[in-house]
């Protein structure tokens, strides 16, 4: 079946309610292309989405999917993959979902390195609640709840990931559809936790981090001599404050995903209709 799969097979018949021009359209298209390109189909794919504009993605895509609780999408994805490593697991969310309410889960999901991809639609704003500061908003970004700006530096999610032992860190931009799809595809193909931060501009509430801003500032790593297997080079690029990069910043080619280390071999769904063979030995242990 998978050889015939087109990326539109991953599209549901529900029309997105994102604002016209929202970066999330491009982000989602790239995800669907990458899933099709990697030989997946809707019946073997599980998409987990968080809360916020980005969280609606599960509704607009067609696959097995769960739209969960704010900030907790990553643990759900881990549970799915542990219980059935044959599934393709993709988790999607926004900067608020992933780096604010879900920040604790983010660093631990990075550490755990389960074989799945995590696509964060980073628009540096809370859109669905109509424009409050997010953890990636600039220090002086004025909003209704932060009239003088947040007065605290933005989170650097790629640095957080690197410090947490990430095996795959990438930055993408929703407007560059070809490159974006390629980058997500690389995250899917990576043996471990494939983290992609996507600049996915909010055209309604963020007039600073706009399409024009990213187009003007972003540098494609493919056009540099960046070695993505070199952690030190990745660190330098990630900590640079005056440039934005697009592409795979870091990849550990020797990554072994958590579920493999733990010896999980196949789906846990099938069980016998009584106690499993050998269960009486468990009772005898208590003699």
């Amino acid at each position: 079946m998978s050889s015939d799969v087109r990326f539109t097979d991953f599209k549901s018949d529900k029309q997105p309610t994102w604002c016209p021009g929202c970066g999330d359209f491009g982000t989602m298209n790239g995800m669907m292309k990458a899933l099709a390109e990697t030989g997946n189909d809707p019946d073997n794919t599980f998409v987990v989405a968080g809360i916020g504009c980005s969280g609606k993605i599960g509704t607009y895509m067609h696959s097995y999917a769960l739209h969960g609780v704010h900030g907790r999408a990553l643990p759900v994805g881990i549970g799915v993959k542990m219980a059935n490593p044959d599934l393709e697991v993709m988790v999607a969310g926004g900067d608020g979902d992933g780096y604010s309410i879900g920040a604790g889960h983010f660093i631990h999901a990075v550490r755990r390195n389960v074989d799945m991809s995590y696509v964060v639609m980073d628009n540096r704003i809370y859109g669905l609640t109509k424009g409050q500061a997010s953890p990636t908003s600039r220090e002086d970004f004025e909003t209704g709840t932060t009239p003088d700006g947040p007065q605290q530096p933005p989170v650097n999610p790629k640095a957080l990931a690197l410090a947490s032992g990430a095996t795959f860190i990438a930055q993408s931009f929703s407007s560059n559809s070809q490159r974006h799809a390629e980058i997500v595809q690389q995250a899917i193909e990576h043996d471990g936790f494939g983290f992609v931060n996507v600049y996915s501009p909010c055209v309604t509430f963020n007039d600073v981090d706009t399409y024009d801003y990213f187009r003007d500032t972003i540098v494609d790593l493919d056009e540099t001599d960046h070695d993505s297997n070199n952690r030190d080079q990745a660190k330098d690029k990630i900590l640079e404050s005056d440039k934005e990069y697009m592409g795979v910043l870091y990849q550990d080619e020797d990554s072994v995903p958590f579920e493999k280390r733990e010896g999980v071999e196949g789906s846990m769904a099938e069980i016998p209709d009584g106690a499993p063979e050998g269960a009486m030995d468990l009772v005898r242990e208590f003699y």
């Binding site: 079946m1 549901s12 018949d13 529900k14 809707p42 019946d43 073997n44 794919t45 599980f46 998409v47 987990v48 599960g58 509704t59 067609h62 696959s63 097995y64 999917a65 769960l66 739209h67 969960g68 609780v69 907790r72 990553l74 643990p75 759900v76 994805g77 881990i78 549970g79 799915v80 993959k81 542990m82 219980a83 059935n84 044959d86 599934l87 604790g104 889960h105 631990h108 733990e262 010896g263 999980v264 071999e265 196949g266 789906s267 846990m268 769904a269 069980i271 016998p272 209709d273 009584g274 106690a275 499993p276 050998g278 269960a279 009486m280 468990l282 009772v283 005898r284 208590f286 003699y287």
Partner: protein, 592 residues
């Protein structure tokens, strides 16, 4: 009343109290005696008073009592802590050569048995074995053949090498011989042995074993007293059956991992205590509204907040019954004994999958820290049945696709239970969400669909009431005028309590309720009795409130849950219609 002996070893945390007590309890169990253990302990690694207590009899014992016959006291405080339970025939074994125990006074006419535990242990090969010397001394005092300790010592020290095992056997015998030679008299205790074969386990272990028996393959949890033993039991063991335990970064993550595994088709469980349930409540509504089968085990301890982490309480009943915003269908089951911890865990998984609903399995510290003997047949694995409910595969999925070929994971079936397709099933791809959703799992605010889905989820509870046997366990005199009701772990204490009461001429009917929701209707039983007493380990009587609620006269109800508020004229009409109708009916305001 069982002809019982009550034994304890007490000292400071870190003195090896638990493992020494367990060696004795296992020896008794292997010798064909029933055992019921309990622990006094604090939430710390070292220091502070801790004790391991063993009640034993050739008859079944299922409670602690307020009497201590033999006490091994490693500290003077141990004697003071147990002063009220000691009596004139009690024997207190302690090391009078220790500087801190030279001026020990024993209460009343109790026998002070000074045994140089440390010195004898050193002679046997090391001071570290002083507890085992004390065990040997206790064997002599209770006329319990010393050979019975050998198998337990082998079990405890076998992985440290044969020499260590032999040294411990020697240490035990030195304690025994010392008492034999220095105190040449009978103490009046006689632990007879039988040919019975018992297993010895605690409530957390029974839950863990029940989970594996039921086909649980995924467990995610975060360590917390007194639920950690469930996780420790499963770790490694569940792997032998193709499963996995994951230690999450917190309880929020634990329940969400469990949710993911359950969505992927695995039987999945998490266990925690009250503070963890607080955190898990965030995701609980999602589990229920996404109709995901899950077993959430709450091993209760004293609250609120951090409370008394190592003390007993049944304070979470209201939280498990009502916790979470909105209205959430659920099952709440509270096993009433340690063997029932096993069987109710199996049942919890079946209910969860048959009705695609979260199940709270509510246990407590009293069962978690108590080891009790059972004949192995009490856990007959051949009796375990696995019922998975409406799982569909490639062959029968077509019946559940809509006219556009889309799988209807929330189809509003007559019994409230929709088909379930595991990810990977061809044509089964579907989403689900914590938002109100339609039969396809897509978000909706359509008032008719909203009402349809709320009713569908509630119908599962109704179906379960009709299909399942949510009955109580009954003891004592069924015709007695006095009715005592309890839930959860109090059953054992109350069953033995009936014997004390019978001695004093009290005739009692005792109902023990394992099903908290849905639960048996006790109206007839309450009305048939002159006096009704509800027994529970909490301050406000949470189950008593529930019983009183159930036997109240019914009121009429007008409910609206379309998402739209009441409107004045509409409400007036509803009131008029209700008054014109039969009393005691529920009116649901129509969707608009």
């Amino acid at each position: 009343m069982p002809d019982d002996l009550n034994w304890a070893i007490g000292g400071e945390a870190g003195d090896g109290i638990d493992s020494t007590g367990k060696i004795f309890a296992q020896a008794l169990s292997r010798a064909g005696r029933h055992v019921f253990t309990s622990k006094d302990f604090a939430s710390r690694i070292r220091g502070g008073y801790t004790a391991y207590k063993v009640r034993t009899s050739v008859d079944r014992v299922e409670s602690v009592v307020d009497r201590l016959d033999i006490l091994i006291a490693l500290t003077e405080r141990t004697i003071h802590e147990n002063e009220d339970e000691l009596h004139d025939d009690s024997v207190i074994i302690y090391d009078g050569e220790r500087t801190t125990m030279q001026d020990v006074e024993v209460p009343g006419d109790a026998t002070a048995l000074e045994v140089p535990l440390k010195r004898l242990a050193e002679d046997a090969g090391g001071a570290i074995m002083l507890n085992v010397v004390a065990l040997g001394a206790a064997c002599e005092v209770t006329n319990f053949p010393i050979e019975n300790l050998d198998e337990s010592l082998q079990k405890r020290f076998g992985d440290k090498g044969e020499a260590i095992v032999e040294n411990n056997k020697k240490a035990a015998r030195m304690g025994q011989e010392y008492v034999q030679e220095e105190f040449d008299h009978e103490f009046g205790y006689d632990l007879e042995t039988t040919d019975e074969d018992y297993v010895l386990l605690n409530g957390d272990e029974a839950i863990g074993m029940g989970a594996i028996a039921a086909g649980c393959r995924f467990y995610a949890g975060y360590p917390i007293t007194p639920a950690t033993d469930v996780m420790e039991y499963l770790t490694g063991r569940i792997d032998q059956f193709g499963g996995k335990v994951v230690q999450a970064e917190d309880e929020l993550s634990a329940i969400n991992m469990t949710l993911g595994a359950a969505r992927a088709g695995a039987r999945a469980m998490t266990a925690t205590s009250g503070p963890g349930i607080d955190l898990m409540t965030e995701t609980f509504g999602l589990v229920a509204t996404s109709e995901t089968p899950m077993v959430i085990c709450d091993v209760m301890r004293s609250g609120p907040s951090t409370g008394m982490p190592t003390k007993q309480e049944q304070g979470d009943l209201n939280m498990t019954l009502y916790g979470g915003h909105g209205e959430i269908p659920r099952f709440v089951i509270a096993p009433t004994s340690i063997s029932e911890c096993f069987w109710k865990t199996v049942e919890a998984f079946n209910l969860a999958e048959k009705y695609q609903t979260p199940v709270f399995l509510v246990s407590d510290l009293a069962m978690a820290v108590t080891e009790q003997t059972f004949p192995p047949e009490a856990f007959d694995m051949d009796e375990v049945e696995v019922e998975r409910g409406k799982v569909v595969d490639e062959d029968d999925i077509d019946a559940w696709l809509d006219e556009k070929g889309r799988f209807q994971a929330h189809f509003p079936a007559a019994d409230g239970v929709s088909p379930r397709a595991f990810p990977g099933t061809t044509d089964g791809a579907h989403m689900t969400t914590g938002l109100e959703h339609d039969e396809l799992g897509r978000r909706t605010e359509d008032t008719e669909v909203r009402v349809e889905q709320v009713d569908k989820r509630e119908r599962k509870v109704q179906t379960a009431r009709e299909e399942e046997d949510f009955d109580y366990r009954e003891y004592g005199d069924p015709d007695a005028d006095t009715l005592v009701i309890s839930w959860g772990s109090n059953e054992g204490a109350m069953r033995e309590g009936l014997e004390f009461l019978a001695e004093d001429g009290y005739d009692i009917r005792f109902i023990s309720v394992p099903y908290i929701f849905p639960r048996p209707d006790l109206t007839a039983e309450v009305e048939a009795a002159d006096d009704v007493i509800v027994v529970e380990c909490n301050a406000t009587g949470q189950f008593a409130d529930v019983v009183e609620h159930d036997v109240l006269e019914r009121v009429d109800r007008i409910n609206k849950y379309t998402g739209v508020r009441f409107k004045a004229d509409e409400l007036a009409d509803e009131i008029k219609q209700t008054l014109a109708g039969d009393a005691g009916t529920t009116t649901e305001v129509e969707a608009e």
